[in-house]
Symmetry: C2
Subunit: 120 residues, 2 copies
DNA sequence: CGGAATCCACGCCGATACTG
DNA sequence: CAGTATCGGCGTGGATTCCG
């Protein structure tokens, strides 16, 4: 258990899915990698604000979970490429409706922001 | 901001949705309330292991987010009923595919559990 | 019955420094 | 370039106690 306890058993399917994508950047990583294979540095630049530690940690956990494939090229300088597995792509598809819902929510909140702020 | 800072802005729709359902019991509450209106005590019994504090806290946040409707009946003894709003039902629908994915994952993990445990 | 309030442990995550 | 190691803040969630 070098990284995550990864507990079970799960009460429902949502729990099991949440266990895999909970983590500040995992959804973004999934989204980034869905556009194609990325090197570590590319991924880092594509996720503004992420620390190296969290990026590595999340990628390792996602690899353990079978979502991400990690290909190491023993060269100088070293090169590591990350890509989605078929399983990872299937998760991304399952997240589609949730993403739509979230975008709609952003629109809602955006419309209410002025009122909300005035009340605080 | 009595309970949750509820930060934004969001980088993508998934973030915005995750902000609403992150919390150990929120997905379960959503699932329970989708079956119909529930009293506080009923909800508590339907979610084995939840503490009163977390149940109240999650319900309040979900009410703030417009997912849950809270109806108070000033009687003796007091009675409070919770139900999903239309908005909450739409979130539940958006979570459908993710729940399917999670159930499939549980099946996978169950099949691999012996191997995984043996390696640890 | 349905909360509110308080204390506290644990784990997530950030910042920093160092390595092959 | 792609990590590893360590320290520490802080937010989440659990247990307990009290209130209308």
């Amino acid at each position: 258990m070098t990284a995550t306890p990864r507990t079970g058993p799960y009460i429902c399917g949502i729990d099991a899915a949440m266990d895999v994508i909970s983590g500040k950047w995992k959804a973004l990583i999934l989204w980034e990698l869905d556009n194609g294979t990325r090197r570590f540095g590319e991924l880092r630049r594509g996720l503004p604000g992420v620390s190296e530690k969290m990026l590595v940690q999340h990628l390792r956990e996602m690899e353990e979970d079978g979502l991400v494939h990690r290909e190491v090229y023993r060269e100088v300088p070293p090169r590591v490429e990350y890509s989605l597995t078929e399983y990872g792509r299937s998760l991304n598809e399952a997240l589609g409706p949730l993403g739509d819902w979230g975008r709609e929510r952003i629109a809602r909140i955006g419309a209410d922001r002025i009122d909300t702020d005035a009340l605080r």
